[in-house]
Amino acid sequence: MTDTSTRALAARATRPTGTPTRGRRALISLGYFVIPIAVVIGIWQLVTILNPPAPFFPQPFAIIANLWDLLFGSPKAVQQVFYGEFLQTVGRMALGFALGAIWGVIVGTIMGLWRGARETINPIVEFLRSIPATATLPLFIILLGGGDDMRVAFIAYGVSWFVLINTAQGVGAIHKTLLDVGKVFKISPARRIFRIVLPGAMPKIFAGLRIASTAALLLAIVSEFMLASNGIGYMLVQAQGRFQLLNMWSWMLALAILGLIINTLLEWIEGRILAWHRQSRART
């Protein structure tokens, strides 16, 4: 997705004329964040109170309250169950993401470094990549059954493509001179890969990782729609089957929050690791 476009835009947008102080700017940003959401929630709340209750759109406050209850309010034992659901999803996601990312980086690096390999593998990659990852779920189920290893494999498979493509692009874009530097100073090939190639490609790889993380969450949920016994996706299907709208919305809210947390985490990590990249780009 065009994440960079919004970031570039935000970078341009946050320079108002008659520049207020940093404190005021932060307050304004916060205001822009909180007020629209409050307005939307407020309207929603009002509508659901005034109109005869539409079952599909419960009151937002009720949703939040319900989620709170589920996670914090109910008896300890029940609480643990619900934490468990979260953890199940996150666990699968993380493991699948890690495996898929490693595989993607490996193959992507090979493709990026050696033109011969890239040209040979590329048609295969392009073709396999065009098969929607979610559509491969039935295949995975047939091959690996309904258990967790199927899910992790499924997630890893879907994730690997994004990482692979971006890694290949990032590695391929590394200037020849940089590689020559490694050779001239007699740096071993292994070191060249870990100290020159991968760091150099890291901006692109990280962009791929961010997309992949979104995909990992999505694939985890999808994998929990079928033949599952736990996880957020499973909870959603359960709530659907029992027409428990409040629960369903609560879990959707939980999902949105989870997505937000993951994205923020990755952005923070990227900010630390790729500070050099941002600053050098900002200069030009």
Partner: protein
């Protein structure tokens, strides 16, 4: 041979060597798969011979219900994409032109965007049943974002000198929008449409897969799984249908890419 001072990998039109290598790669893989399967190294239950998969991919098209399903999927995809464009372009243009409005809306956007569209399936299923409306709603929810952001970016990034130049000729606000902003943003919008197109197709098939329903490639695959006929044969069909789904997506992508180059060739953009 090593080249001299050019950056290592420039992606221009494929060189002859690249084409040969690509063909070799595909053939090589095909042969390996065929041998591994037929010789039994990997159980044919898990890996049917490559040739059989190819054959089945073709015979699928002889099945009327498959053809209907493909048609249904494409229809849902087109409707979903069209609605996405209708919603996303004006919104994106609005946000691109007015920074204030964008900042106000950003919070809501950033909260909605991370929600996996497929997570909405249970809800929308309850609301609208398992027909086309449900699918279209979810497709639209997924596909608006790339178009919207690309439109926003394209509109926002119009060359200010071009706008000044137009203003100096006395062209009014709407004239500027029509004659400078839109042509300038058009390539970006097209890129957004291309990205959204692949997302839309993926989402349609996914929804069909999960929510069942009667129509669509995803539904076809789902039905296959539930059938009681010969397991290996079913697997072959599932494999073939899945591959077909990918192929259709590839073809659509190529077509849109061609359209993009044909009409907006002056500003070819790489995918995000």
């Amino acid at each position: 041979m090593t080249s001299t001072t050019v950056p290592r990998q420039t992606r221009r039109s494929p060189r002859v060597g690249a084409i040969w290598r690509g063909i070799a790669g595909v053939l090589g893989l095909a042969i390996v798969l065929e041998i591994v399967s037929r010789s039994g190294i990997v159980d044919q239950k898990y890996l049917p011979p490559f040739s059989e998969v190819i054959v089945r991919s073709f015979t699928l098209w002889g099945d009327a219900s498959f053809r209907n399903d493909v048609g249904s999927t494409l229809l849902t995809y087109l409707i979903g994409l069209a609605i996405s464009i209708v919603i996303a372009v004006p919104l994106g243009a609005l946000f691109g032109l007015s920074n204030r409005v964008y900042r106000a809306a950003r919070a809501v956007i950033e909260l909605l965007r991370p929600i996996p569209p497929v997570a909405l399936i249970p809800l929308v299923l309850l609301m609208l049943g398992s027909g086309m409306e449900m699918k279209v709603v979810i497709v639209v929810f997924a596909a608006v974002w790339p178009i919207m952001f690309n439109t926003l970016y394209g509109v926002h990034d119009v060359d200010p000198y071009a706008k000044d130049m137009a203003r100096s000729f006395g062209i009014g606000r709407f004239g500027i929008i029509r004659r400078i902003v839109i042509p300038s943003a058009a390539p970006f919008i097209m890129t957004g449409v291309r990205i959204s197109s692949s997302i839309a197709l993926i989402v349609v098939i996914t929804v069909e897969l999960i929510a069942g329903g009667a129509q669509g490639i995803g539904a076809y695959i789902s039905r296959l799984r539930g059938s009681y006929s010969d397991a290996a044969d079913t697997y072959l069909s599932v494999l073939a249908a899945t591959i077909m789904a990918g192929l259709i997506g590839l073809v659509i992508n190529l077509v849109i890419g061609w359209l993009e180059r044909r009409f907006f060739g002056w500003e070819a953009r790489d995918s995000a």
